[in-house]
Amino acid sequence: MSYDAWILLIGSLVGITCGVTGAILVLRKMAMIADAISHTVLLGIVLAFFVTQSLNGLPMLIGAAIVGVLTAVMVQALDSSGVQSDAAIGVVFTSLFALGVVLISFIGDNVHLDVNHALMGEIAFTPWDTLIINGNSYGPVAVWMLGGVLLFNLTLILLFYKEIKISTFDPAMAISIGVPVMFIHYMLMTMVSFSTVASFDSVGAILVVAMLIVPGATAYLLTDRFGMMLILSGGIGALSAFLGYGMALTFNVSISGSMAVATGLIFTATFMLSPKHGMVAKWLRRKQLQQEQQKVSA
């Protein structure tokens, strides 16, 4: 496969993985928890590095999952002790992220882990970092990580589809019919942490947020059906990756930044033009209504 094809594949995998998971969070009004977790996994990655002294995929996934779930637990704990939820999110993620950034500056220059990399990612280098077993190369590590996490997330979503759906739209009803609501909550938080750390190398901690929230919010403006929204959100994530890569090549700028901007462009277009929830459609409907009223009164 050519270099461009690998980048597009990796970008699309980030878009689909984050898009599908993020759509659920948007529906559950937990978009900012996604923001928080994608900041704090940095701490998990740094701690995993201190323990294993390597940037190996699996320990990083575990470290990120632990800190990700810890973030959710801490926010929940502060929330239930009476701190308003957005302030709780704010204090938890800024503390853990700051700790991660400070710890990272103790790591030597010879290790491929620094703050800029953590923020912006280095998708341009990922195709060369290949998985080598017994001397045979099996393609970029990022593809295997992202593919694995995508498969993991999809399996969980399909297995618990009904439970996720009910606990999202009607938590009270879900509890009353015995759905393990807390389990679903922390399962989703784990999925977010996994998606974040797998995407980390390619788009960086902060731009993961764009892929987690914006495609989901866009899909929310396009459909009223849960399953459809997940599919659309994943598709929009992948589309953003393509569009973003094109823009990055054209203007010679950051690839991950362009992908985030691309999600914003698609969101803006949808915000204006969505057939049901778009500004133009709403304006036309209002106009029509006015005309009909005038006809009636005339």
Partner: protein, 289 residues
């Protein structure tokens, strides 16, 4: 220790410490209002959105100039709050997702502009990327003056309108009833928040400046119920965090200033959470026992 004394006698360090003290105090005070208004994360979005503003300002004038950078930052910061409100008002997207959309896309745009500047323009562009995490060590006296003057003005305005702001946040209906311009006061508070974010990004950085608005007031909340005392206490906590964070960053040669200031605030928050006289966890247990 000698090293520390040497640093403290350095004029530039003294200036920077003074700046971080005033900035920390002002942000604690303003943050108390923001906390009561439940808009903590809007400050975060605004802070991220200042990055493209700084970059655009550089692209327009083509050289480093702190005042112009800060004007650019203020403009895009304000636009971002407007966009969040517009998205919530004109669509069915909820506030948290709207904040997330604006925050992440504008930060992405900032990164794009940053790479465009480093790759496609000439001239001195060093220091622009320090806006991301803040670097007190590289600040010069004029930068500190901007911070000090900005913070003092912000403090003055908030003290002057303290009562009005308080009433309009706690009870907007009553405030309207007694003839207060509630919308205007909301605008004033927004402007104060933008002000803090803008003067603070050089020292603390766009990614974490929101913490200075969130953490000190939250810590102060564990010691008192009264807004006046709370905002004063939050100011003190903010000032302490500012001074200690900057000090550690200066001693630790190149450790990023912003994250250290935030960590200091987090430690004070943790202490308050446990020991606070109002609602501290340990205090509660002791009282029940």
């Amino acid at each position: 220790m000698e090293n520390l004394l040497y640093l403290l006698s350095n004029a530039n360090t003294q200036w920077v410490l003074m700046g971080s003290l005033i900035l920390g105090f002002a942000s604690g005070v303003i943050g108390s209002f923001v906390l009561l208004k439940k808009q903590s994360l809007i400050g975060d979005a605004m802070a991220h959105a200042t990055l493209p503003g700084v970059c655009l300002a550089f692209l327009v004038i083509g050289e480093k100039s702190t005042p112009i950078f800060l004007i650019g930052a203020a403009v895009t910061g304000l636009i971002s709050t407007y966009l969040i409100q517009a998205i919530v008002k004109h669509s069915r997207i909820k506030t948290d997702a709207a904040i997330g959309v604006v925050l992440s896309v504008s930060f992405g745009l900032g990164i794009v502009l940053l790479t465009y500047i480093t790759q496609n323009t000439s001239g001195d562009k060093s220091g622009i990327d320090e806006f991301i995490f803040g670097q007190a060590a590289s600040m010069v006296r004029s930068d500190i003056q901007v911070i000090a003057v900005g913070s003092v003005v912000i403090l003055l305005v908030s003290t002057l309108f303290f009562k009005e702001l308080k009433v309009s946040i706690f009870d907007p209906l009553y405030a309207k009833g007694i003839g207060l311009p509630v919308n205007l006061l909301n605008g004033v508070l927004m402007a104060l928040v933008v002000g803090i974010v803008v003067v603070g990004i050089q020292m603390v950085g766009v990614v974490l400046i929101a913490a200075l608005l969130i953490t000190p007031p939250l810590a102060a909340r564990y010691w008192t119920d009264q807004l006046g005392r709370m905002s004063f206490l939050a100011g003190i906590i903010g000032a302490l965090s500012g001074v200690f964070g900057t000090l550690i960053s200066t001693i630790g040669n190149g450790l990023p200033t912003g994250p250290l200031i935030v960590l200091c605030a987090s430690v004070i928050f943790l202490i308050s959470l446990l020991l606070g006289t109002r609602k501290g966890l340990i205090t509660k247990v002791v009282r029940h026992a």
